[in-house]
Symmetry: C2
Subunit: 283 residues, 2 copies
């Protein structure tokens, strides 16, 4: 893999940034706020940032770059699709619980729902994410869609995946802004007074933004792309079964035992030469 | 150009969305707020959203896609770089004036500066944008940098350009959230009561987000990329002068008069075949 150490460094950075974001979210609600509970009060609201940062930011970010991990390139494409879809499903479930938490909290406190730009864009992002997941499973995971449809929809799927991810991060930043203004309301302890909580959550916002930037960089480098599967002829020669996208392998352990090593280096180098020509347009 | 009508439709949409965003910003400050002035009051603050939406969102967005306009493909690359850098310079100047406006307003009202996540990320975006512009001019516009350095830095330049653009949009959404919470503070006329101004500015936020999404889609489709310049051999045959990136043309009018039509179709089709292979990694 070209730039392997750079990839490793960025992956470690992404994991560290994502992990720190989740820890910061927990410290925020447990140390600075009222903790976590399901009682219609502030502690129920607190599930909202914790679950969204964990699922909709961190897990979604990992789901985006999971195909890029070079250790997975010997695993079957189908297995990787299952992992990609599985991580996105976890993120969606956590996001839905987070929405229920804030809905419950608003209703208990007689605060209207869906009045803010944060809520408009956030709910739209969750709906688009769910649609993206359903369409992704129907077209790319299940074996019914023809290859031409997959090829047509893949750039759209990839674009909307990254767009939704970026939109989720923007929505989180809006959410921090809202919460800090509303929650820090005592005289001398308002947002504009920069109390420790305000600084802490601002840093959390920066962490999430940098996490997003690292994920987007990793996801858009053509030379870190999972190699295309070998062509039909090579697959048949090796007696593999061919899925709609030409994968010859059915699971990771089979792949490791098999002699189809061509899948990693030769095919990848062939793709790279072609990709390099399109590098100027990779973002 | 492949998908010409689709490109035209998206370009028209982007221009309409960007234009509407500027009009919405003007209506917001002129109809719902205190208008525009330079007096240290609310009317001075109002330059902040108007100038940022005009320059840092609309003009920056157009600067990003200006290379993609097929009518410019016969113009010299140097001219297009000048236009790209010129538009970005206009955007930067407007952004700096917008920062001065809010700084003045804060100082006049004894409101602290730089306490919010909006200000942290916004100022960072302006500084990164200025650095990106200076480095872009030094490396890509001036004739000193070797081709290898340009080739190495181009993906980084393109990535950071789009990242800053996305960050600016996220910062604008945070700014709307802040302003609506602070400005709509009368009982019964708060943000949560969804008065007309709140709905209006929420719609403005959605317009800007969709504008950003359209620009990012247009900027990342490989088949809408400006064709690479023809190679050295062809350039010399036509008696052109070759700049560092191989352009044979010095200005748009010369190009239109010349017979170097090969620059558009043949070179573009050659690039397209290579790009198509890398299409899955174009976001």
């Amino acid at each position: 893999m070209e730039g392997y150490w750079c990839f490793l460094a960025l992956l470690a950075s992404a994991l560290l940034l994502g992990f720190c974001s989740v820890v910061f979210a927990l410290v925020w609600v447990l140390h600075y706020r009222e903790g976590l509970a399901w009682d219609g009060g502030n502690a129920e609201f607190n599930w909202h940032p914790v679950l969204l940062i964990t699922g909709f930011v961190f897990v979604q970010g990992i789901a985006i770059i999971v195909y890029r991990l070079p250790w997975t390139w010997k695993c079957s494409k189908f297995l990787m699709k299952l992992i990609h879809a599985g991580l996105n499903t976890i993120a969606l479930v956590l996001a839905v619980i987070a929405l229920v938490a804030v809905w419950d909290f608003h209703n208990a406190k007689s605060i209207p729902n869906m009045y803010s730009l944060h809520s408009w864009i956030g709910l739209t992002a969750v709906i688009c994410y769910a649609l993206q997941l359903v369409l992704g499973v129907a077209v790319f995971l299940l074996p019914f869609a023809p290859g031409s449809l997959r090829a047509t929809l893949m750039p759209i799927h990839a674009y909307f995946g990254l767009l939704i991810f970026g939109t989720v991060i923007a929505t989180a930043l809006m959410g921090f802004t809202e919460k800090l203004i509303f929650a820090l309301s005592s005289p001398g302890y308002q947002y504009k007074d920069s109390p420790p909580e305000a600084i802490f959550v601002n840093v959390l916002g920066v962490l999430i933004l940098v996490f997003g930037a690292v994920v987007l960089w990793m996801a858009t480098r053509p030379h870190w792309k999972r190699p295309q599967e070998p062509d039909l002829k090579i697959s048949h020669r090796n007696g593999g079964t061919l899925d709609k996208e030409g994968s010859t392998m059915t699971d990771c352990s089979n792949a490791e035992k098999s002699d189809v090593e061509f899948n990693s280096e030769a095919a990848r180098k062939r793709n790279l030469k072609l990709d390099e020509a399109g590098q100027r347009s990779t973002m």
